[in-house]
Symmetry: C2
Subunit: 192 residues, 2 copies
Amino acid sequence: MSSTADKILDVAQSLIVAGGYNAFSYADISDAIGIRKASIHHHFPTKAELVAVLVDRYRQQAELGLKALQEQFASPADQLQSYLNFWQTCIRDASLPFCVCAMLAGEMPMLPAEVASRVQAYFHMLARWLAAVLQAGAEQRLFRLDERPEDEAQMLMASVHGAMLSARAFNDPDLFVTIVNAQIAKLLVEDR
Amino acid sequence: MSSTADKILDVAQSLIVAGGYNAFSYADISDAIGIRKASIHHHFPTKAELVAVLVDRYRQQAELGLKALQEQFASPADQLQSYLNFWQTCIRDASLPFCVCAMLAGEMPMLPAEVASRVQAYFHMLARWLAAVLQAGAEQRLFRLDERPEDEAQMLMASVHGAMLSARAFNDPDLFVTIVNAQIAKLLVEDR
DNA sequence: TATGATCGACCTACTAGTAGGAAGGCACAG
DNA sequence: CTGTGCCTTCCTACTAGTAGGTCGATCATA
């Protein structure tokens, strides 16, 4: 039993994931959930505001999910792997075949300011989380880091987002798995 | 002295790089080069056709540039580094701050078929080139590959495109350099 | 005199956003 | 218990502007 506002955000999110900020309209949402355009404007006066709220929600959900991962798994290696498993599952079953913020990051130069700043906030949050996990893993001798944890985190994040792009370009969900698994293999100490 | 058609493609390319397929219109091009909308339709009847030609041109230019790199530098390590230097320069001076096809790859599900297939062709071409360079480098003991050359090529390509995304998200061109340099460092044998 | 390039004028469909009102729920005064 | 007023939600109907695209005329040049 989700509210109308939530339904609007859900549909908008799947449309953004499919084609970005400029690839959806209020009419699209209207058609998808059987509500008039004007009603959407009642909940979200402008498109920029709608997407800003959407990205905020997305970041909060991600933050909660990542924190839950840290509590569920003791080992940083398992925490990292289950983060990647999440995306592998999403991409394979096409439920959320792309990161909303990765999508929007490409459009940064043309995004409304209130959206762009929130996309940046997501990237900061994810980079922080990855760096913390990598650092903890390095201290436990689970990972061998060639660079500072923050830089290794940036590399990993770039790999994940780049792999999403490649999976789309080649229309091959398994390619995402291949790329990110090979990437973490380079971090694990038992290798080499 | 470039033809009108070339000027149209140049402007369209910079607009796509800024915001993707849906973020530019014939009117934008019209304003930018001082020609009427109808005249653009004379050269490129439809938007899909315009972008298809644009991506073809982009791939051909890239193919030529990469081949030139292989002739200019004997060492695969230098070939690879100068490919990355190209993007580092582009991103730092903001001349071509994003790969056209990486941009379009994100929009694949909503792209006209004739555009999508050409984006895929670019990805295939680049993956082939990178795999060849990596394999040659491995045979000369310049690189140590943990995976098959094709898979290492995919990882590298994902890193490059993901790093572009991150540089945009953080509004920090240097981040691109940090990520891709750290990534090739993992390939070079003198490390570790 | 044919050809390619450009143009103004136009078209239909769609864009984000607005105005104003109808229906329902809820609180409170009588 | 009823009436009144308010608030939220959703609606129809509308706006100005933009989207991609068409048509026929004009103009230069070969």
